[in-house]
Symmetry: D2
Subunit: 335 residues, 4 copies
Amino acid sequence: MKAIRLSSPGGLDLLKLTEMEAPSRPRTGEILVRLHASSLNFHDYLVAIGKIKTEDGRIPLSDGAGVIEAVGDGVSDFAIGDHVVSCFFPKWQDGEPTTSGFSTTPGDGIDGYAREKVLTPANWFTLAPKNYSHCEAATLTTAGLTAWRALVADGGLKAGDSVLTLGSGGVSVFALQFAKAMGATVIATSKSDEKLERLKALGADHVINYKQHENWGEVVRKITGGRGVDHVIEVGGPGTLPQSITACRIGGHIALIGVLTGVAGTVPTAMFMGRHQKLQGLVVGSRQQQMEMVRAIEATKFQPVVDRVYPLRDLAGAFQREEQGVHVGKICIEI
Amino acid sequence: MKAIRLSSPGGLDLLKLTEMEAPSRPRTGEILVRLHASSLNFHDYLVAIGKIKTEDGRIPLSDGAGVIEAVGDGVSDFAIGDHVVSCFFPKWQDGEPTTSGFSTTPGDGIDGYAREKVLTPANWFTLAPKNYSHCEAATLTTAGLTAWRALVADGGLKAGDSVLTLGSGGVSVFALQFAKAMGATVIATSKSDEKLERLKALGADHVINYKQHENWGEVVRKITGGRGVDHVIEVGGPGTLPQSITACRIGGHIALIGVLTGVAGTVPTAMFMGRHQKLQGLVVGSRQQQMEMVRAIEATKFQPVVDRVYPLRDLAGAFQREEQGVHVGKICIEI
Amino acid sequence: MKAIRLSSPGGLDLLKLTEMEAPSRPRTGEILVRLHASSLNFHDYLVAIGKIKTEDGRIPLSDGAGVIEAVGDGVSDFAIGDHVVSCFFPKWQDGEPTTSGFSTTPGDGIDGYAREKVLTPANWFTLAPKNYSHCEAATLTTAGLTAWRALVADGGLKAGDSVLTLGSGGVSVFALQFAKAMGATVIATSKSDEKLERLKALGADHVINYKQHENWGEVVRKITGGRGVDHVIEVGGPGTLPQSITACRIGGHIALIGVLTGVAGTVPTAMFMGRHQKLQGLVVGSRQQQMEMVRAIEATKFQPVVDRVYPLRDLAGAFQREEQGVHVGKICIEI
Amino acid sequence: MKAIRLSSPGGLDLLKLTEMEAPSRPRTGEILVRLHASSLNFHDYLVAIGKIKTEDGRIPLSDGAGVIEAVGDGVSDFAIGDHVVSCFFPKWQDGEPTTSGFSTTPGDGIDGYAREKVLTPANWFTLAPKNYSHCEAATLTTAGLTAWRALVADGGLKAGDSVLTLGSGGVSVFALQFAKAMGATVIATSKSDEKLERLKALGADHVINYKQHENWGEVVRKITGGRGVDHVIEVGGPGTLPQSITACRIGGHIALIGVLTGVAGTVPTAMFMGRHQKLQGLVVGSRQQQMEMVRAIEATKFQPVVDRVYPLRDLAGAFQREEQGVHVGKICIEI
């Protein structure tokens, strides 16, 4: 069977299909999955260009979706033919997070899903939403679950809450969609009017071109009648956090997800404190949260935004699009 | 101005309009409200027929909606012309409940809103949803807030959750609507196929005629693939609670609201315990919860179900309809 | 090695030591535990007398404590020589409960710890508190964890809260001790003045002889200045629940644990509802909660109350004491 | 009666007693309090030296404790002779915070308690703990409630949790005491070995001299076996936050309270995010939380640490001690 393995030192031009041995039959508690799709995340990009170092020969890509071809003894949750999607932290089944870092994450600490088949413990995957294609299902592992956990598991989102999303990346678009599916109001930002139109069409109640409004935090306050939003999906990191604090209400919740603008920076701690705000750092979520998200998607029936689909053999081309930052929603890979 | 005052011993035939002095101008912290609508609840009915004893001459009806005609000094939340709706527990502003009983409830322990005008502390009312008529707004004080608190404040409802509602009374229909507005799945019951059609049209995903299924709890389990529902809006009380426990999932939440089938009865405590369920007793909610509900309604834009509207002078006729139990949604009063 | 196996139909007189093959060496993820102690619970008693039916030859006793003799590959949490204690629901590692019934519980659905050694997946045990003997550690699996979960995980106990405990069984005494260790006030009941003295010595702030006070719920209200307690550890079940509802404050929490007085009974649902109370059914807890409890015990350094210790060969004698109901705290078994 | 009024521009040398008219009798809902004590906080200091600007003639000091001399109509919570203590945010009675800033805080936006008597709405005070002197009670308004809210209301502290406190100021010492009263483990830091001895005597399980350990965050990790603490009481602000993030466990809670090291600074956001930590900004708490804290103090019976007591006429001297930063616990004022 075919797979992509990373060389070291790496680079996008080295992402080539190679042959590897097909996996054997599942043992007790295992499943054999024929993978049909994956999708790209900023974390996969950092791995692919070698900025995050991994073992030589690592198979990249954290997201994986496909069909179960065989099940081992003792597997009761799945049957042959089930459509399934992979977990970002396969060892984090439920409860509070207990590990940091990516040593257990497919496509980083362990082999990922840029391959045709995988033999894996059954509880490293969950069922995919019934109404999703494999490409759509693959967007859930990282981007979908991050947005779901931030808003629902951590944020306790309820109808009538207001949510601020930054940009048009995968997490932000999912956050917009989950928020609208649960009756919240969404304010979305982008530097491109064209993308803002797209976000409006997806349900954003208000949009802000942050190139035209350096103090976009104040614009958000004005839109909310001076109150500020209940939740900020902060994917920018330290470069945008000060404006996010301005935009957030007294007692509000900022989900700190991003490293797009760096790994450290100046934060107005006194303003944050004086407004009794909560900053919740997070990286994706647990398998239990993924199952709850899948249930929510089946009930609300929205489709994820797929920017463009590439074949696995053109993984390099897909990452080049990610690099350009012109996409809206998720760049997908067909296997 | 006109009002209705209860006589003792009472009865529906004694509900007559009387003249009373119009209220004076608001003092510090007060507002003057021209009431335009109210709506009926089972609690109002028990008061009206004298089954709940109140002071002689009591003005009935807990729900009140109207327009602000004058504001006293120090009132910053409201302005003349604002559409407002009354609070069931005017002294319970925020936080956990601290009183039981109805000594502070308009239409029971204190005078209610079966009158043309009321002079009141400003924080005994909240703004009404912008998209609601007075009649629609009046349905929120008791029925709307009970459903909102049960599902959202107490239940932490999220998209993908499943909700079981019993019958087609005001609370159950509101619960159905809030649940659908937040992406949940709803199973509704009734003894009438006609009403079940109505509930389906309002968004119910599954319906059960409980006259045809004595063990409707088991039917709910079957519909949910054996799992049981996440939330039960238990308006029946002891007569229906055993089936509700059967219908509810392991670790699930039953909101105990009703006294329709009595004030005490046999409960299968061991089954309830063995399934790690939570039974949360509740009576309406706080003013803060009401403000959050109004925000949710403005964001999700659904209209409440108004069964029929009666003029205040025909309050007796309105209660007769309540007595017959043929209504779906709320019986309203125009003042 | 030696073990006790249940015959069917059973009875205390049939609890005899038998010989069985010693377990082999641990495979990947497994540990070999030399068991040194167990303790008795009402659930074990029902199994032993055959009131709860189990497979023929079942090894009884859910509680097990001992020393690790060997560890398999991939076990990182434990080392040879570690003192460990068993989990009541070995498959419930973390998060919300997902199963009811006892099909995965040692000593019921699977073999328990009335034996000298056990080979088991490593995550079916946790570390024991450093300051505990094996007998003391064995009391934690069922009684200790039930009390901990009820008060801390479910109840969110904080200093200054008031807790009502019923009787002097294992769960109630543990609840008293955890409550005192966290700065709460405890009201304890018993039908024996001698036991009440014992409970006072253990820290109970107030005691009530419920034989002398049929309406002991009212006595609790009086002790709390009319407010009622924040938490009730309701081990009695339907026979005591009405008094517990009376004793509990508005918005208070009743942990429903017991079946001592039956599996169903009359509950004053309207009073419960009118007081906005919460009834939380529970059966023991998760492995994660057990680890948190062990940490709490090491920090607060209290010892559990061991009523009497029996050798494994006199398991029948131990159960006879359980049957008499004269014990305070836990009856232990030395293996 | 006597009071101190601030002049503008201010300074400690201008803190002089002046005469003012004694308050009249309480109207409906009001109480008359004879103040006997206050205590100093960093916020009071910033007001006193004019760094926080207030209205000319403002009476300083947020903390106030004394005895009720008269009660108006409709006051049911208090009686003449009751010992009471003031609230930092008198308008924040319960629920989530709704205001930032100090416009409603006595001693800043409105007159404080550097005076002999005050006529005030009854719900601007709570009962004081029965076992506290007036000086001790006065320490609760700001420092006590900040520590209580951070650990208990926001942090959900439970026995066995680990808590890191910074320095020996009022909030940190209260946090140490509440943590120990609830069965937690405490690691305390200071730059003075003498103060560390004092903190040990108060119950600190581990102490660190941060002058000798620049990377004290790593020292905390080592003490906790690499796990990190559950809660950090971060009174330093941006200057200490990076070390606090290092010291805190995966999924842990950092209460951001302080501005001692500035109002903004560099934060390692990626490390914070990668560890799934929560940063909760806070300023004191609600009246409801204060009542819960008082109940906790009465149940656990610990006394606050009073550094030194000054008479009101020597308020300047008291602030000079605050300025020197040599105190442990609270500097109190007798009126």
